[in-house]
């Protein structure tokens, strides 16, 4: 399989006064298209920071990131936003659904931004909600949905525009076991359909559902396991 992500000598250093904290320390690896990759590690190991670099939400201090053959670290701010819209999908730890929009409207938003017509976007949104089993709650606002349902909305929003890569940052952290399993089942289904997924988690049990686990400590890879 062709590599969808390639990173070389990636570093992210935070400065706190005189002190320097190396969150990501000279990482190099690649991710083939269609892979379900789990990044694990203890708190402070740099796993979320790595995800933010890969997802273009943060800038690396040094190193190269290539996604779909595009060297993304050189993109300007507006182009990074455009790149996220067209290539990437995100599932955040705390769902990050927009409170003033219904489930359907939340999911439609990236499509409208891509210039897709309202009726078509609505149709695609309904289909994505159907995929995550939430079609019946499409008219509800986040305040009317449970945590698990909000996370499903978040997943539907992340996949509705067929992104090249789906990023998930601790997607089950705020959910009970049963809901967590259903979310991961949804991920596995998507992955079966060819979706590349990169998921950060600190729970070994869920990480083992992926094809590959990268284990981080102090910003370095201490273990890279293909399952």
């Amino acid at each position: 399989m062709k590599d969808i992500i390639k990173i070389e000598n990636l570093r992210r250093v935070f400065k706190s006064g005189e002190a320097e904290i190396i969150a990501v320390n000279d990482l190099s690896f690649s991710v083939p298209e269609g892979q379900f990759l789990a990044i694990t590690g203890k708190s402070g190991s740099g796993k979320s920071t790595l995800l933010y670099q890969l997802g273009l939400l943060d800038h690396p201090t040094s190193g190269n990131i290539t996604i779909a053959d595009i060297p993304v670290e050189k993109l300007r701010s507006d182009d990074r936003t455009k790149f996220r819209l067209n290539f990437l999908g995100y599932v955040f730890q705390d769902y990050a659904v927009l409170p003033s929009l219904t489930a359907e409207e939340n999911v439609m938003l990236p499509l409208l931004m891509q210039g897709i017509e309202f009726s078509k976007a609505k149709e695609m949104s309904d289909s994505a909600l159907q995929k995550v089993g939430l079609a019946h709650r499409k008219g509800n606002t986040p305040s009317q949905l449970s945590g698990g349902e909000q996370q499903r909305v978040s997943i539907a929003r992340a996949i509705v525009h067929n992104p090249k890569i789906l990023f998930a940052d601790e997607p089950t952290a705020n959910l009970d076991t049963e809901t967590s399993r259903s979310i991961l089942t949804a991920f596995l289904e998507l992955n079966k359909q060819g979706q590349t997924i990169i998921m950060v988690t600190h729970e070994e049990e869920y990480a083992r559902l992926a094809h590959r686990i990268i284990n981080l400590a102090d910003g370095k890879i201490i273990k890279d396991t293909n399952l």
Binding site: K82, L85, F87, P99, L101, L109
Partner: protein
């Protein structure tokens, strides 16, 4: 990768998404918060339109009073170097035949003085209690039917033709209403309805009784002494039919300038001074009007700054409290421009609501209300002076200020780093 869009297509998409977000943000916002913001905008609009409108209207009221009670639409008066309007009766006939003529009244005038303590023996150093003003002879019925001056009698009664030894005194000549004691201007003390006063005109003195006091809020009227025209003519020895002033009133569709031109073209300008009511306004009134217009504009400008700051604060607080929301929008790929549009559109919504409600209040309630019950200022019956053009200009300025005040805070928050916004750092 979707196909590359043109700049215009990107702008259109950003606008559509901004509109989509703004509509839903407004629809699902707290109703009380929205009501509060709209109320602030309504008050801001009223501040822009009403404050300056009342300032200008205060003088407009005085000008309107002067037109209604004194000059009419066009006033013909004697040249300064002449004692009266020559060929007055011919001129009256011409005036009655100009287009849109409605009514006219003529007056005789002469400088005069009234004294109230003329019977007392003055002690050494004591001055005569007197006041000077323009004594005006009128046909009481005609004058009232044209100017409605009898409605402005605040004490006593109006004249009738048989009142040969009575006068009406303007309130500006009475100490009771105008308590001024300056070396150059004296008002009459100890004078009330029924008081006998000595009126001196052209060296001729007569005892007269004060029958009424006028308060018309037209400076020229309130500083005059009115009496029946036949009596004044006797005092000034006017034996012909020549008068000193002719006030011409036109119907509602009449135009003062056209009427003046018609009179001048008929040769009236050769015998007398022909002026529109506006031209006949005293210079100080024109100056005050201009001053109040400047003041009104200054207040409007301050109002506009306040409005801009209000919108800025509303949008800034809204954007700051929703910093994470903005971060998420950017995180999922919503463009900076679309988010800015959404905030600008929200600002426009608040301003539009304020303007619409403000317009209904101004033109549906406040303006007709004040027109029916003018504000009782000391020197005028204040009206609300608003023009369609002036209001439209204020709306455009308010909208422009709103767009800027909505854009800047949104821009400040949007420019923050996406990840920091999402993580609330």
């Amino acid at each position: 990768m979707p196909e590359k869009k043109t700049w215009f297509q990107e702008l259109k998409t950003a606008y559509n998404v901004g509109f989509f977000l703004a509509i839903r943000d407004i629809k699902r916002a707290n109703k009380w918060t929205t009501a509060l913001i709209v109320s602030v905008m309504v008050l801001t609009f009223l501040n822009l339109v009403v404050v300056s409108g009342i300032l200008v209207g205060l003088i407009e009221g005085s000008i309107e009073a002067s037109k209604a009670r004194y000059t009419g639409d066009v006033i013909i008066s004697a040249f300064p170097e002449r004692q009266f309007i020559e060929n007055s009766q011919e001129i009256i006939k011409i005036a009655e035949n100009i287009p849109h003529f409605d009514a006219l009244t003529w007056r005789y005038t002469a400088g005069g003085k009234i004294e109230s303590n003329y019977k007392d023996t003055l002690e050494k150093g004591e001055v005569v209690n007197s006041a000077s003003g323009l004594v005006t002879g009128i046909d009481p019925d005609r004058e009232d039917s044209v100017t409605g001056i009898s409605e402005k009698i605040i004490e006593g009664e109006y004249l009738d033709r048989s009142d040969t030894d009575s006068i009406l005194v303007g309130k500006d000549l009475l100490y009771k209403y105008t308590p001024i004691e300056s070396p150059g201007f004296q008002t009459l003390k100890d004078a009330e309805i029924g008081t006998r006063v000595r009126l001196t005109v052209n060296g001729v003195s007569r005892e007269m009784t004060i029958k009424g006091i006028i308060k018309s809020k037209a400076g020229e009227v309130d500083a005059r002494i009115y009496m029946v025209d036949s009596e004044l003519r006797k005092m000034i020895g006017r034996t012909d039919q020549n008068v000193d002033e002719i006030a011409i009133f036109l119907d509602n569709s009449g135009d003062a300038i056209e009427a003046k031109n018609a009179l001048v073209d008929s040769g009236v300008g050769l015998s007398a001074k022909v002026q529109t009511s506006e031209e006949a306004q005293p210079k100080f009134l024109k100056d005050i009007k201009a001053t109040f217009a400047i003041l009104g504009n200054m207040f409007s400008f301050i109002g506009l700054i306040v409005a801009s700051i209000t919108i800025f604060i509303v949008i800034f607080v809204n954007a700051i409290t929703r910093r994470r929301y903005i971060g998420i929008l950017k995180g999922i790929g919503i463009s900076r421009r679309a988010i800015e549009f959404s905030y600008i559109l929200q600002a426009i919504f608040y301003a539009s609501m304020g303007i619409i409600i403000g317009l209904v209040l101004v033109f549906g309630l406040i303006k007709p209300g004040i027109a029916a019950n003018p504000i009782d200022f000391p020197f005028s019956d204040g009206i609300l002076a608003t023009t369609a053009i002036g209001t439209v200009v204020r709306i455009i300025i308010l909208m422009f200020a709103t767009v800027i005040a909505g854009f800047i805070p949104a821009r400040i928050v949007i420019k923050q780093r996406t990840l920091d916004a999402i993580l609330g750092r």
